[in-house]
């Protein structure tokens, strides 16, 4: 007779039948000490960086091909101290913030109209779904042509890319209120507007934040792509310029800054989410919750 983790006193078959079967308490079972996850991942990260440094130095890889991490750090520090990288970082961040804000505004308004008015839903949603199938980055050259090389074309590219995930999640969110909850509010004489404010909007928040999380990373991509197509400032522009000058260490430094922007914006979204949507059970389905 076997019973999972149960320990059975050893002995002959006859003895075994007489011996009581014991199941020890949790403390009695030795558990292996758990190493915190962040220690493991940071450890691995540092090991990989170290390996990179080692390989580049050992095989004397040309700095024009792959710079060593130490070269990247030096270029990053130089660029930040001279203010060169900060200026371009600020240019890109500004584009992202304005474009992202625009996308949020447009997505919330159109989601509100689509969920509140059946006629808008029927007329507009199919068109939006159709537009969604277009790769948004393909629009960047057109936007550049229409709105010039300045910031406007970047802002619009970012807004276009961030808009759809926000829209879809906002629509889902605004429709997520339970019919019974709506009945409950109506039993107290709530108007449509009050149902929107007191129930539909708060219920939509967890979904909206899921959309924000996706859109915020997409908008960084959008900024880089838009600047690739044509720009006079920004980190995407800097990547192209340094690439052209074969200053690969600087290119890597810019990549680092881009991921800093991405991580920071993501952290802002996650923090706001925890703060505003405190009632929702914490979800651990985002791999990026590092």
């Amino acid at each position: 007779m076997k019973l999972g983790n149960t320990r059975v006193a050893s002995g002959t078959a006859v003895d075994e039948a007489r011996e009581p079967v014991r199941r020890p308490a949790a403390q009695a079972v030795r558990t292996r000490r758990q190493v915190p996850g962040f220690v493991l991942s940071w450890g691995l990260f540092l090991i990989l960086i170290g390996l990179w440094q080692l390989i580049v130095r050992a095989f004397d890889v040309s700095i024009v091909l792959v710079p060593a991490p130490s070269d990247v750090v030096r270029s990053l520090v130089d660029g930040l101290q001279s203010g060169f990288l900060l200026d371009h970082m600020w240019a890109t961040l500004k584009e992202i913030l304005i474009g992202f804000g625009l996308a949020i505004g447009m997505a919330l308004v159109s989601a509100g109209l689509i969920t509140q008015f059946r006629i808008v839903d029927k007329a507009l949603l199919p068109i939006l779904v159709l537009i969604q199938t277009i790769p948004k980055v393909a629009m960047a050259p057109l936007l550049l042509m229409w709105f010039g090389i300045g910031m406007t074309s970047k802002v619009l590219t970012i807004a276009l890319i961030a808009y759809f995930p926000l829209l879809v999640n906002s629509i889902l969110g605004l429709r997520s209120a339970e019919p019974e909850q709506i009945d409950m509010l109506r039993s107290f004489g709530a108007s449509e507007f009050q149902i929107m404010r007191r129930l539909r909007l708060p219920s939509a928040l967890p979904h909206i934040f899921a959309g924000l999380d996706v859109a915020v990373i997409l908008s960084v991509t959008g900024a880089v792509v838009a600047e690739f197509v044509g720009a006079t400032a920004g980190l995407g522009y800097t990547i192209q310029a340094t690439n052209f000058n074969m200053d690969v260490a600087r290119t890597f430094a810019v990549v680092v800054l881009l991921s800093v922007i991405g991580m920071t914006l993501h952290a802002v979204v996650v923090t706001l989410n925890r703060w505003l949507v405190f009632w929702a059970p914490s979800r651990k389905e985002h791999a990026r919750d590092l």
Binding site: Q181, M184, L185, F188, G189, W279
Partner: protein
Amino acid sequence: MPTPSRPPTVTDVAVELHDITMRYQAKRGRSVLALDEVNLTITEGQFVSIVGPSGCGKSTLLKIVMGLTRQTAGEVVFGPSRSHENMLGMVFQQPLLLPWRTVAKNMLISHDLQPRLPRAELDKRVAEQLDMLGLRDFADQYPSELSGGMQQRVGIGRALLHDPRILLMDEPFGALDAMTRDQMGLDLLDIWERDRKTVLFVTHSIPEAVLLSDRVVVMTPRPGRIAEVIDVDLARPRRLEDINTPEFGEIASRIRVLLNSEHSAH
């Protein structure tokens, strides 16, 4: 709760249902008759239960009285004795609390939607209400921190806060375990004894209906019709032990026989 201005034995009409018919549009142009000419008069201050098998339209009937669903034909007439403000309050099968509001704030939802009382008066009422429901220490807790029974108490407090004339309850204890359910029924009777509101209580538990009610409306399965209205003449205040008395058993078995015969007729 403020003391009632009317004696508990008034015989005014609280609400009358005239030939209430409800027809749903089903697929392929067919329609389903959910309620068929339901006529019922409910006297003010009475505790009336509606029992019937699932799908007999008893919840629909309650929603029609509440005004959440519009009947296909027929009329709901409320008694003229008091103003139409604060007329109805509803308790649902689920607590339906808003998870982002504390217990006290959930109770205050009716005020947030339609302010009627000054804030100070309201806070007093909330405190009284919480006391009465045994939730005094939970005012600032969030619903997720409460048990199912406590959540439903908040649901009851929320419906009572604006002092409705008629309380509609749609299987309010249906989602609770048997022991909590009994206790909640008795607590509800306690609350009801204080000012004897008109209560319309939907359930499919026969003992619950008999224990709580002055009258039990027995409904037939689809289409929902009233099979019979049975008076429960047991003395009040009632206790859980009353379930074991022969009078109780007799009334309960009458209802059971009615429900069974309606079942076999279909």
